[in-house]
Symmetry: C2
Subunit: 254 residues, 2 copies
């Protein structure tokens, strides 16, 4: 892991750009950070990248509100990574399919599954390197946040990676994920858009049902695939704070 | 509305007991309260009453954390109100049905619907009286929280009552509520227990689907009917704070 630049915002967020085995990434942490702290891995959506506005907003709040670290890497074929001929074909197929009003869920699922097979070991190598840093440490709790492509990659990653102990996933409902869902054991907050034009509602509900974790919560909101409400950002923060900081925080009963 | 007692806790919560048209109720508010403030109406579950532990915990937090007022009344045949012969028959049928492992959802729905027809105008009269108090006022925002029986009553109440502008409902899924759901317009947070032994999952999802409100969120959690997780208490508080205090609070984007 080689850091190529570090900048610090006026709000005290250090943003370090790194490269690991050719994969570009970014680490956000408190500017004065030293010693272990919770780390949130952020998986971006399809067509986005490691510094997409939604990720950036989340990362900054994790740092400023909770003192966590957060990290993101570009998924295969995204951001600063090279596109293959297949990437270009997929982009055209997707654009044409959506323009024609055809269902594109299966097309996306097949594409994303290939990317996920590559991205899971990339994330694991990234986590190894991040945990060697003083400001994160090898024993700190790790969470994962990612929806859509971020869940196509994230669900098998969380299933395979015992260091990740809480995850926010969602906006997926493909059969290809059922196996990973059935191997999840950690608390999961699962997001579903009730009027998702890409992921059929029944498929999203079936995938939530397949999640084997004893603690799982479905948050289903009105709206289409990209209409995830802003208040779910705060909800995810509290989910991570509850599971990564103090598992015992409970403030009442029904 | 006649107040019969008022006590104040060491945490600054005034608890006033009242009677209105023979219906016993309780009003929680900041001990030093004067002037209008948001009011949360709390509907208890079947077999519970206006001071059930879950309601009490919620009411105290609304007062101490947000400066809101909160109020609860005993539902027909509950708490300090008289039981009819039909109430006694229902209690026996319900006990026997549950002991025999029979589905009791329809039995509960039929019973609760009768109570709801009586309770909706009772709540409206209570709201009239509460809004005449200086510490609440006629123009302040009003929320409703109630699950199970609290939603059998709450859903038609919120549908009928334009003064209520945000509601947390759930743990119901009976056809008899579909009409009320289709008349809802205010933001709704709807709770569903994924392994509910009383309300079939599909029926709960169908009722959520029937809610006409443009902003609606489903929170579905692992567990049975009474296993509503404690963290949903905080989630409801933030929902009410968002809608009753400052509609414009949004802290990021996807």
């Amino acid at each position: 892991m080689r850091f190529t630049s570090e900048t610090t915002t006026s709000t005290g967020v250090s943003e370090g750009r790194f490269v690991l085995d050719g994969i570009p990434g970014v680490l956000w942490s408190p500017a004065d950070a030293f010693g272990p702290r919770p780390l949130i891995l952020l998986g971006h959506g399809g067509g986005q990248h490691k510094c997409a506005p939604g990720l950036l907003a989340r990362a900054h709040r994790y740092v400023t509100e909770f003192g966590f670290a957060a990290a993101a890497i570009d998924a295969p074929g995204h951001g600063d990574r090279p596109r293959t001929a297949q990437d270009e074909r997929f982009a055209v197929q997707l654009r044409n399919g959506m323009a024609a009003g055809e269902p594109v869920g299966e097309l996306i699922a097949q594409d994303n599954a290939v990317r996920a097979a590559q991205a899971v070991p990339e994330w694991q190598a990234t986590l190894n390197a991040l945990q060697s840093l003083d400001r994160i440490g090898a024993d700190g709790p790790v969470g994962y946040w990612g929806v859509s492509l971020g869940s196509m990659i994230g669900m098998p990653l969380v299933a395979a990676e015992p260091r990740i102990t809480a995850a926010v996933l969602g906006l997926v409902g493909y059969d290809i994920l059922t196996d990973a869902a059935s191997r999840l054991t950690v608390p999961v907050q699962f997001l579903l858009q009730w009027d998702d034009e890409i992921v059929p509602r029944a498929a999203g509900l079936a995938l939530f049902d397949a999640i084997a974790s004893p603690e799982k919560t479905l948050h289903a909101n009105s709206g289409r695939h990209v209409d995830l409400p802003r208040f779910e950002m705060g909800s995810a923060e509290r989910f991570f704070a509850r599971h990564l900081v103090d598992n015992a925080v409970t403030t009442g009963a029904r």
